[in-house]
Symmetry: C2
Subunit: 345 residues, 2 copies
């Protein structure tokens, strides 16, 4: 029943060209007359032709696939990161093989040198601590590896300056009176995950406050799992420590969401008794009036994909690094009220 898919031969025949020409059209080879190219393209459209990826891989001698290893927390973050990666890879007719880290066991399997993860043309690794799990911090493969949202001296990387983000948070929140608090994310799969990310943000925050002549006491940092409910528990904790107002750097939008929920439950007004700054800049923060440090996540993903593609094409230089910075987006949750002069310090 299932009629055979059209092949490059049918296309060539109907377009009255050789199969080589069809292949060139497929691969955007420059030396095809626009006229020929259009003829071929229109036949493909008529036929509903789509090339057989497996044949391409055999003939081309590569997989035209990139492995992406990534944690399965912070799904909104990784979803956006993948958008950026896919954007670039699809232009190159590359596919993605996803290796989500569902558990330490699976991660270990991904990192074994016979793993499928290494059977592709290159690796994109989105997990800070991951390199540290490996013997001398190197992946057991000759294929190119690029880190994204992470850094290592051994590989190309596109990373976010989380420390700077923390300092920016401090610079913004330091304008307000009252004490300072922070939520530091701390995933279960500790070493493997965004662990250092949370630490760097809080470290930057602390340093920024110090520069502003303010301070972040040790016990004003709440270590939380990565979930909105963790944010709720954090606010409960802060309320046991001190009376309002609270100036809170949440370290992630999702944690901030929980803080907002709990604030409402406790009758604390955001922007007044609870000043709150998230991190990520997810779309929904706008409607919630949540101030946040917006990360150019998609751009970071795209940059990493480009670095990897260049390696796949044969670039052999020393590791390169691309740094990204967050942008402060101030909204109602840190709007200075009238009772709170901007010049406070």
């Amino acid at each position: 029943m299932a009629k055979r898919k059209p092949t490059i031969h049918e296309v060539a025949h109907l377009a009255q060209v050789g199969i080589g020409t069809v292949s060139r059209v497929l691969n955007n080879h420059p030396s095809v007359r626009p006229e020929t190219r259009n003829r071929v393209l229109s036949v493909m459209a008529d036929l509903g032709y789509s090339p057989n990826p497996h044949a391409r891989r055999v003939a081309g001698g590569r997989s035209y696939t990139v492995s992406v290893i990534l944690p399965v927390i912070s799904t909104e973050f990784y979803s956006r990161l993948l958008e950026g990666i896919e954007q670039v890879l699809s232009e190159e007719r590359y596919e993605i093989a996803l290796f989500p880290i569902f558990s330490p066991t699976r991660l270990r399997r991904y990192l074994e040198n016979r793993s499928l993860a290494y059977q592709t043309d290159g690796l994109l690794v989105a997990s800070q601590g991951l390199a540290y799990l490996l013997p001398n911090q190197k992946f057991p493969t000759e294929r190119p590896v690029v880190l994204v949202d992470a850094y290592s001296p051994h590989y190309d990387s596109a990373y976010m300056d989380n420390y700077l983000g923390g300092r920016m948070a401090a610079a913004h929140l330091a304008q307000f009176p009252g004490e300072f608090f922070a939520i530091q994310m701390q995933e279960e799969l500790d070493e493997v995950m965004r662990n250092t990310v949370g630490r760097e943000r809080v470290a930057g925050f602390r340093e920024g406050l110090r520069e502003a002549g303010r301070s972040l006491p040790e016990d004003h940092v709440f270590a939380s799992r990565f979930s909105a409910d963790g944010g709720r528990l954090a606010l409960q904790y802060f309320m046991r420590l001190a009376p309002p107002p609270y100036n809170i750097f949440a370290g992630a939008d999702l944690l901030a969401l929980g803080v907002l929920e709990e604030a409402e439950r406790q009758g604390l007004r955001p922007g007044e008794e609870v000043r709150l700054l998230g991190f990520d800049g997810h779309p929904w923060t706008e409607t919630r009036g949540l101030s946040t440090l917006a990360q150019p996540i998609e751009a970071m993903g795209a940059a990493a994909a480009r670095l990897l593609m260049e390696r796949i094409r044969g670039y052999r230089g020393t590791p390169r690094t691309q740094r990204f910075e967050p942008t402060l987006v101030a909204r109602a949750s840190t709007r200075p009220g009238p009772e709170c002069p901007k010049s406070f310090a």
Copy 2:
């Protein structure tokens, strides 16, 4: 530098057989003399030969790959499910293409009919509500589809009897004096996720209590996100409703973990003031002394993979269904103390 990988031709030459024979050995074809087979196998080992999967796919005319669509919550559950699936598929020399649902946007993309998810030989879908997102609940593909941890009249499925699990929970907890409580998981991506799972478990629990002449008041059910911190908030909520002891059906081990944490913080002893029953039977429940309804997750995954492989091999019957049941594992968190006679009712 990278020396070419050995091919089937080298193996054939060194083993002094035709390439057809090597191929037969690779595919466990029965008609190969054991002697020949061993000779070929040993040459492969010497050479470090591994077949080129792409060539196989071109020649064989299929992808030898199965798509697995799955949510990215409850990572321990899905990790175990994948173990079961991989077990079966690797025996068949099939690979898995993973499509983790990081966001509604990505899910929608997976379900578009030109999606990569449909370019494989079959689909394994581990998401209850997913079928309801689709036009007349059917996936836009001719390829076989099997649901796992989910049910639909349109497709083969391997599913857990969550309602029964809830009733078993009730039968176990009903032996204790005191009031009853339940935590119902409720993911953000509501319709898409394990939503119905949580509902079914609680519904079964309620019915089971009713059969035992006990009851579960509406407001004794706490709707929680899927995280340990949600379990902590749940216990806080229960404590505002009533004094100890609490008989809590947590609906998932991870939620139960949070209850244990909060109980400790509040000075409530598990098994006495807080009787607690999880769901899943994850390995760590043993060391925590957590009673739980153990799910044969790996077996369910394996069963689904088998159903799919049969469809891929051409089976054309009406949809088949394989039901799985949890097993009660009673530990310290529901151990009747001396002050609590087993015969209470």
